[in-house]
């Protein structure tokens, strides 16, 4: 490995927070925990290729043990997702269990189970935050990627939460080529429901790899997102997901840093620990919470995370005047588009991404897939077979248990 020019080799004393975060923390700040791969929807860009439950998913007791460990490690809150986490029968129990153990919960949902009763429960529970996914400000745009009826489901959930007095729900939007012109409308939907808008970047992860070419914002749209965030950034959350746009000039609010394995990670439904929520692939698998030593050992000692916290090589990017602003962009975006990790982000706003995408590249094969369409043939629904031959309306129906062996025989 050649030296990354601007990355120090050892943890500095003092210095900026970003400098400190590059060397990792004793526990994650922002931990995503996907509780199930089961989902009632089949969004085309699903990061985790969800659909079917995995038979190895952690049991209630195993989930409680993970929460106990997070409490001991002082992980103050987790982002729970899936799949659709609320379809797990023990979801509401685990939510309460986490809150009772000083682990605050923010969960992402498509809204399917957020009826009036659950909205009232959520409004009365401290340390709980709800994030409703919505990828179009109109049903037409949303349902194209999230499926028929999903817009109405999300809006109903937002209405239920607002009516129940739930304060400050989040409306979480993946910005795509199709909805980038709706940013003001998304903001209005959030405002109308007493909610906060959260925008995130479309990642080519999971099924997202299949639709990224069609849906990822065009270069001129990247500029629109940047300008919109600069104008509205203080009232909009981004999960720091647009740090690649910092190379347009001014840094956006938040950490302009890839936090994978340093300050963030993902626990998947079977307990596998990945470097970040956008990197569900064996290449970024650090261990499993059921391993000896549990999550803490994976976080603090795994080979992968240790490597991610050591000085990184950023190749040609280090020569770019904007390297300090974007630091080479998103590792997952590069990996799943088949670009080298030490090169530019595929959406590099200085144009280096397009050049890289035009060259030779090998997209990685997914290492897991829980999409319903990936069911083995024998488990797929049997399509009704339509007979092309018209039955003879005169002939009497032949019953299998007709007594006469000559039944139906007309010489």
């Amino acid at each position: 490995m050649t030296n990354g020019i601007s990355t120090p080799v050892a943890r500095p004393t003092g210095g900026s927070l970003v400098d400190q975060f590059e060397f990792g923390l004793d526990a994650p700040i922002c931990l995503t925990w996907e509780l199930t791969y089961a989902c009632n929807l089949a969004c085309v860009h699903c990061l985790s290729s969800s659909g079917r439950r995995d038979p190895r998913e952690l049991t209630t007791e195993q989930c409680e043990a993970v929460i106990d460990e997070l409490q001991r490690m002082q992980v103050f809150y987790v982002n729970i997702g899936g799949g659709e986490p609320t379809v797990r029968p023990d979801f509401w129990h685990l939510l309460q269990y986490a809150v009772d153990h000083q682990v605050g919960v923010k969960f992402s949902t498509n809204g399917i189970r957020i009826d009036k009763e659950k909205a009232a429960f959520l409004a009365s529970t401290p340390y709980v935050d709800v994030q409703i996914s919505l990828d179009g400000a109109t049903a037409e745009v949303n349902d194209y990627v999230r499926g028929p009826g999903s817009y109405d489901t999300a809006i109903r959930a937002l209405e239920n939460l607002n009516e129940a007095g739930f304060k400050d729900a989040k409306v979480s939007v993946v910005v795509t080529r199709q909805n980038v012109g709706q940013l003001d409308e998304f903001k209005r939907i959030a405002d109308d429901h007493g909610a906060t808008l959260r925008l995130t970047r479309l990642r080519p992860s999971g099924r997202g790899a299949d639709v990224w070419d069609e849906l990822h914002p065009l270069p001129e749209q990247q500029r629109i997102i940047y300008d919109w965030l600069m104008a509205n950034g203080d009232n909009v959350l981004t999960g720091d997901s647009f740090f690649h746009l910092a190379a347009f000039g001014e840094s956006l609010p938040g950490l302009n840093l890839c936090g994978a394995g340093r300050v963030v990670c993902l626990i998947d439904p079977v307990g596998d620990v990945y470097a970040c929520p956008f990197a569900i692939h064996e290449t970024f698998l650090a261990g499993n919470v059921l391993d000896e030593g549990g999550f803490k050992t994976v976080w603090q000692e795994s080979e992968l995370f240790t490597e991610l916290r050591s000085p990184q090589t950023s190749g040609a990017c280090t020569k770019c005047a904007f390297f300090d602003a974007c630091r080479g962009g998103c590792m997952a975006a590069k990996f799943f588009t088949g670009l080298p990790l030490d090169g530019p982000d595929p959406e590099c706003v200085q144009g280096y991404g397009e050049t890289a995408l035009a060259g030779d590249r090998n997209r990685p094969q997914p290492s897991q897939d829980h999409s319903r369409s990936a069911l083995p043939k024998r488990a797929q629904p049997v399509m009704v077979q339509l007979s092309l031959t018209r039955p003879d309306p005169v002939a009497p129906p032949v019953s299998a248990c007709a007594a006469s062996p000559l039944s139906g025989f007309h010489p």
Partner: protein
């Protein structure tokens, strides 16, 4: 930060807010407020030591002395404590028992 407030704070008792947890980190500590969900990074281990010693110190001055902070640096530390007070990370200790 006004110098007068520096002086008054030195003789006051302050404690970590009951809604706040401190998590040790290699660079110092992270403070998380369960109520307002604010996350604050304390990048100086010396400051973390002072905050931890507030609990057993009747006044901020005692905590600074106990933590071995030279007197010349007290205004800087009081400034840091004031900004922590502004987000309810620490509270005046008379409020200690009415959470």
């Amino acid at each position: 930060m006004k110098m007068t407030s520096t002086d008054t704070m030195l003789d006051e008792g302050w404690v970590l807010s009951p809604a706040v947890a401190l998590r040790p980190e290699p660079f110092g500590a992270m403070a998380y407020h369960f109520g307002n969900r604010k996350l604050t990074f304390l990048k100086r281990p010396d400051l973390v030591r002072v905050i931890r010693s507030l609990e057993d110190s009747p006044t901020v001055r005692d905590a600074l002395v106990q933590s071995g902070v030279p007197e010349a640096q007290w205004p800087a530390y009081v400034g840091a404590l004031r900004s922590l007070a502004a987000t309810d990370m620490i509270r005046a200790s008379e409020g200690k028992n009415n959470d």
